[in-house]
């Protein structure tokens, strides 16, 4: 690795900027079939939480001009029954097959699809479908005593959800201070601005899908299975995705329904979910209740830790919000118990939402640490230092690279931690001012990835891999990686992603794409370089040991310089090499290694609270992160700013309400589900330590994006406490949580 690279780490403007700023970037719903217009589809969703469908009355639809077809479970085997997981070929958000039978498991389940000539007709027709149900008893309320309670063993990463080490009771006896408190986090929805959308186009038994998905390969395998066609016959295209944050990660029924409908009507079908559809169609972060017990001796050394998470799952989706995973690894503590339980409820399914587990889990853990520091009379940063460890507490391994202490130092300095006063003691005009902090962390993941590297006769390099840029900057990052390896400019590299026909890569989740492609690109570049050297030798040249440079239309090695047009025979147009890595890191069953991989950080927040009205503002936030090597300073910083802003939403605004009687989400719109807007945000400070982790991959990047959302809500909650002396143990924190007790 060239540490003085002119490419890696530089703030290079994103290569897709021209397309995205002019409306020329086409998202799933912007594509049109080559011939003609697609038919438009609108979902019919269940209005009951439990029961069965006894019939559909479609009489009002038949007379609608432009109505084409209604499809439902009555159409027989439109979709092949899916048992999830199917030999690991794909991961679906729900373990049931759409339109499989007449069963209804939650409000908002897809039970039918109207296809029409125009969207207006499809919408009117969907509203006119009368559904008859036979309802059965539904378990909706979180505390429903009749709900089945499960204690799942493993999260979807393979990590254990029930962890025990040492003797918690003994640790409690040793302690001089104990914090035991229950923290809750609400139902949250991803709300990417682009709703999920699928355009399905059949050509004989070949299917092309333009899909708003975070994983084209996963999507392809799921749809191929459900449609009973060879995966080779399915092509998923997702060159641009309008954000996802997890709700487009695993595949969901609507994609399969659109494909099935398109086959049934023998025409292309475009299904765009409405914002309301999004609330029940592709997951949410479930509500959590977390009881945290922290015990420490007089020096602040943790003697016992217990983190019990209760959440829920739907009848058909197995997502567990793994809140205690962070607790099991972060601080030195020999006596620990982490448990997770889920109640099975008639609610829509949960799914990972940006930093699943870590975000709500650190709200509880890092709030409890703040409470413990208060009880011990210790500075909250000092308490964390006191319990810092260089050993992964789960398995005794050393961290590949951990610089968390520097994150604390830099963050404290940047926010001006020294200004912090005792709770409720800092006034500025009519504002109560407070500072709070929290530790952030997120696992390092890497998945098998293959790439294709190509050099054409112009001397332009091409890199192809079936990964996707959900907004993170991957187009640019890939161009930089290839440019680095061949000593050229990113402008000289064409990036092909967002197409399942390319060599396979992982879905965009777990902040793992950069680390995964890093290893694959490195190997692909090596393979191309070897081929090119062999070709040069065949031509009678003697390339030296210097790295092969491809720039200005020529191949150079030391004093040797040969135009690409000469190296590449006229009859082949290009030289192609494939490379990749089959290694998995961070998931159970991955590469055997004596190290653990995690990213770390520290978030500091300043809040100002209006003494009369309780309005909470966050004028300053500082995040310092140890995420390995940063590939692009501009895209990375933006990710972090976005994640911290996501954290403000989580801390102060975002909440989906469910009606316990009917099982309906009450506020499924951006008018009633509040997210941060321009006017809510101020200048935030982000710093990346930029220390490469070459144990993780040849570019030293560990991945980022999710970590910046971790810890932000706890930092803000702790700052609210510092400003007011009021400890709020639920999210979001709103002015009515403070109003009555604000210090006068």
């Amino acid at each position: 690795m060239n540490v003085n690279s002119t490419v890696i780490g530089k703030p290079i403007s994103r290569v897709d900027g021209r397309l995205k700023t002019t409306g020329a970037a086409r998202y799933a719903a912007d594509h049109r079939p080559v011939e003609g217009r697609p038919l438009h589809a609108v979902l019919v969703k269940s209005s009951i939480a439990s029961g069965r469908i006894t019939g559909f009355d479609l009489s009002a639809l038949q007379s609608m001009s432009g109505f084409v077809r209604f499809v439902s479970h009555l159409d027989g085997a439109l979709i092949r029954t899916i048992k999830n997981p199917v030999d690991g070929a794909f991961a679906a958000g729900e373990e049931y097959t759409p339109f499989e039978n007449d069963r209804v498991h939650f409000v908002g389940q897809h039970i039918g699809l109207v296809v029409a000539q125009t969207l207006e007709v499809a919408e009117a027709a969907a509203k006119a479908v009368v559904v008859d149900y036979e309802t059965s008893a539904a378990r909706i309320e979180f505390a429903d005593p009749t709900a089945e309670v499960r204690q799942p063993d493993l999260y979807n990463t393979g990590e254990e959800l029930q962890v025990s080490r040492g003797h918690v009771e003994a640790g409690l006896v040793e302690a001089v201070e104990i914090v035991k408190a229950t923290y809750t986090t609400p139902i949250e929805h991803h709300n990417p601005i682009e709703p999920s959308a699928t355009l399905a186009v059949w050509d004989g038994d070949h299917l092309t899908i333009y899909d708003a998905t975070q994983g084209s390969v996963n999507d392809k395998n799921y749809v191929a299975f459900g449609m009973s066609v060879d995966p080779k016959n399915v092509r998923v295209l997702n060159p641009f995705i309008g954000g996802g944050f997890g709700c487009k990660g695993f595949t969901w029924p609507h994609t399969l329904i659109a494909a099935a409908a398109a086959r049934a009507v023998e025409q292309p079908v475009l299904l765009v979910l409405s914002r309301k559809d999004m609330y029940t169609s592709c997951g949410h972060r479930p509500y959590t209740e977390q009881e945290v017990t922290l015990a420490a001796d007089a020096d602040g050394v943790l003697t016992a830790t217990r983190h019990r998470t209760q959440s829920y799952r739907s009848l058909v989706g197995d997502h567990v919000e793994p809140c205690g995973m962070t607790t099991a690894m972060l601080y030195q503590c020999d006596n620990l118990e982490v448990t997770h339980s889920v109640r099975v409820l008639n609610r829509p399914s949960g799914t990972p939402l940006r930093s699943p587990g870590e975000a709500p889990g650190t709200f509880a853990l890092e709030s409890a640490m703040d409470e413990l520091a208060e009880k011990l009379g210790m500075d909250p940063v000092d308490l964390r230092r006191r319990n810092h460890t260089d050993i992964d507490q789960r398995n005794g391994r050393k961290w590949s690279s951990k610089h968390l202490l520097e994150c604390y130092d830099r963050g404290a300095e940047k926010i001006g931690w020294g200004r912090r006063k005792a709770p409720g003691q800092w006034r500025d005009g009519n504002d109560l001012v407070g500072l709070g902090m929290a530790t952030a962390c997120y696992p390092g993941y890497r998945m098998p990835t293959q790439t294709r590297l190509t050099l054409d006769r112009d001397g332009t390099l091409h890199v192809g891999v079936a990964v996707q840029d959900i907004g993170t900057g991957l187009y640019t990052v890939l161009a930089q990686m290839v440019a680095e390896r061949f000593g050229t400019s990113p402008e000289n590299v064409r990036v092909l992603i967002g197409d399942s026909d390319l060599p396979p890569g992982p879905l965009a989740g777990g902040s793992m794409t950069t680390a995964s492609v890093a290893a694959a690109v490195d190997d692909g570049c090596r393979a191309l370089s070897e081929k090119l050297r062999a070709r040069l030798v065949d031509m009678g040249h003697t390339p030296g040991n210097e790295p092969l440079v491809i720039d200005g239309g020529a191949l150079r090695s030391g004093p040797l310089s040969v135009p690409a047009a000469e190296v590449i025979p006229t009859d082949v147009h290009e030289i192609v090499a494939e490379g990749g890595s089959d290694d998995t890191y961070g998931f159970t069953g991955g590469v055997e290694t004596d190290k653990s991989f995690y990213s770390f950080g520290a978030i500091f927040a300043e809040v100002r609270i209006d003494r009369d009205f309780g309005i909470i503002r966050v004028p300053k936030m500082t995040g310092v992160f140890d995420v390995g090597r940063v590939i692009n300073a501009k895209t990375a910083r933006s990710q972090m700013l976005g994640g911290m802003t996501f954290g403000i939403g989580m801390a102060l605004m975002e909440e989906t309400f469910i009606d316990d009687k009917t099982g309906r989400f009450v506020n499924p719109s951006l008018g009633e589900y509040y997210v941060p807007v321009n006017a809510d945000v101020n200048e935030f400070d982000v710093e990346m330590l930029d220390i490469p982790d070459y144990d993780f991959n040849p570019f030293g990047a560990r991945g980022l994006g999710e970590i910046s959302n971790v810890g932000a809500s706890a930092a803000i909650a702790n700052a609210v406490y510092n400003a007011t002396g009021i400890r709020v143990r639920h999210l979001p924190i709103r002015l009515d949580d403070l109003l009555e007790d604000l210090p006068r």
Partner: protein, 163 residues
């Protein structure tokens, strides 16, 4: 439903479309005129991804009937610039990284364009308030504000130079 002919000027070109009274402007722009730059995000006027400029005002085209645009002068993101000829604002969003996934960006830039017409020399606060009707879920807004302020400065400098 009785269809009607709607005549409007879109990005400088006169367009005649036949539409039902219930058809929303955003769908006529996207489905009938092929302008897929403006996006649908929320259907309730909150996110601003569908923002277009109508007779000198920023309008959320997801909550306006096409019939209401009879005779209107409309500018969409496609009318501001193209990938080969970026508008100053587009260049600024690209350079200052005022976008990530890019889905909100057409509406964001179209609104910013009108904002700078309304107030050519805005403060940061003016920008934040003036852009409050456009939601970005990715960037955290910092770079969007920076992009708009930088474009304003550049546009003002070239205006001065021209005088």
């Amino acid at each position: 439903m009785t269809k009607q002919i709607i005549k409007m000027t879109v990005n400088g070109e006169v367009q005649e479309v036949i539409a039902e009274p219930r058809e929303l402007l955003i769908y006529v722009l996207r489905e009938k005129l092929g302008m897929t730059g403006p996006h649908v995000g929320c259907e309730t006027s909150h996110c601003g991804a569908c923002t277009v400029d109508i007779d000198g005002k920023s309008v959320k085209s997801c909550t306006m009937f096409a019939a209401q645009a009879q005779g209107a002068e409309i500018t969409t993101i496609e009318g501001l610039g193209s990938p080969d000829a970026l508008h100053v604002l587009q260049e600024s969003f690209k350079e200052h990284h005022g976008l990530q996934c890019g889905y909100c960006t057409p509406g964001m830039i179209t609104r910013a364009h009108r904002l700078l017409e309304e107030n050519p020399d805005p403060t940061e606060e003016d920008v934040r308030i003036g852009m409050a009707g456009n939601i970005c879920r990715c960037t955290g807004y910092q770079n969007i504000v920076k992009s708009i302020l930088s474009a304003a400065a550049e546009m003002n400098a070239s205006k001065e130079a021209a005088q």
